[in-house]
């Protein structure tokens, strides 16, 4: 007997994975509160945390070769020397949970809600 291209079990896998993915998108949003913060993690250490709503102008920060732009509308990676440019192509981050990571340069830019951001409060500069 040959292996089939698709079986009943496969459909169950589809359903299970799909619902997992959907849950992973929507469940965190239920717990998110309003305050959005842009957080930069460099080398595993949180180095910058800014509350977006309190900003009035777009500012640029640089970590290694990664240029990060943070303004009232959101945050984005503008430039990076890495090869795949995944971080730059992530575009403008606006929602809580949005992430742009430049793995080769060890820079992670995230938007987090106030609650999640509490542990990085101490390092705001």
């Amino acid at each position: 007997m040959k292996r089939k291209i698709i079986t009943k079990k496969d459909i169950w896998i589809f359903a299970a994975l799909l619902s997992l993915a959907v849950a992973a998108v929507f469940v965190p949003q239920l717990f998110a509160d309003g305050g959005r913060r842009a957080v930069v993690i460099y080398n595993g250490e949180p180095v910058l945390a800014l509350e977006l709503d309190k900003l009035d102008a777009v500012k640029t920060y640089t970590f290694a070769s990664v240029e990060v732009e943070i303004g009232p509308d959101g945050a984005r990676v503008v430039k990076s020397d890495c090869k795949d440019q995944i971080c730059v192509r992530s575009g403008l981050l606006t929602k809580n949970g949005d992430t742009a990571a430049c793995v080769p340069e060890k820079v992670v830019l995230k938007i987090v809600s106030e609650k999640t951001a509490q542990d990085v409060d101490a390092v705001v500069y």
């Binding site: 007997m1 040959k2 292996r3 089939k4 291209i5 698709i6 079986t7 009943k8 079990k9 496969d10 896998i13 589809f14 994975l17 799909l18 997992l20 993915a21 959907v22 992973a24 998108v25 993690i41 080398n43 595993g44 250490e45 890495c82 090869k83 795949d84 440019q85 995944i86 971080c87 192509r89 992530s90 949970g97 949005d98 992430t99 990571a101 430049c102 793995v103 080769p104 060890k106 820079v107 992670v108 995230k110």
Partner: protein, 190 residues
């Protein structure tokens, strides 16, 4: 399907051929223009067709070797962190492929997953492995990417699974001739 005692040279040759296939497939894939509606970093993963064939036909050690060679290709073209990400993802997906296709090798009944199911699961394992490696290197958990990666794992896994389902029977038929020939050569030598 496996010859009784393949010589080291035979095994090296098989791993070489299959690695070349995997590398060429991922190179060809990189020539495709990036589609704008895709999340950054999502890829089709055509090389997994070659890896999957390796798992089924040549066994686990050969598949691990192919994964390593493919990761080395990534090291040369895309750097060290991409190498770790590729290696981790590859090992996870090979483990899942091996686990899901193993039943047939023992001669008992096959697992009831189809090619698409195996592809989707191994693609998901691949993505999880990649995400784990990326998180470890970046020093921060990157779970935010997970839902999209799973979603596209389902989508692209189905595509590669369909390709596999079409290609696999043909490949198996051909490789049977290939290994028979090899046996004949060995008989001739002895």
């Amino acid at each position: 399907m496996k010859t009784k005692k393949p010589s080291p040279a035979y095994r090296v040759a098989v791993v070489g051929i299959l690695s070349a296939e995997a590398v060429v497939l991922s190179f060809l894939e990189s020539l495709l223009p990036p589609l704008t509606f895709l999340p950054p970093g999502a890829k089709l993963g055509l090389a997994n067709v070659a890896v999957m064939f390796t798992v089924v036909w040549a066994g686990l050690p050969a598949a691990l070797a192919v994964t390593a060679v493919k990761a080395l290709y990534v090291l040369i073209t895309r750097g060290l962190s991409a190498f770790w990400i590729s290696l981790c993802g590859g090992l996870c997906s090979v483990a899942v492929m091996y686990f899901l296709t193993r039943t047939r090798q023992t001669g008992r009944r096959r697992s009831s997953f189809g090619y698409i199911g195996i592809s989707v699961l191994s693609a998901t394992a691949h993505n999880l492995g990649q995400l784990g490696a990326a998180s470890a290197i970046a020093g921060a958990p990157l779970i935010a990417y997970l839902p999209l990666l799973v979603l596209f794992g389902i989508f692209f896994g189905s595509v590669t699974g369909t390709v596999l389902g079409v290609v696999m029977p043909v490949l198996e038929k051909q490789s049977r001739i290939f290994s028979n020939k090899n046996k004949q050569v060995k008989d001739y030598e002895s």
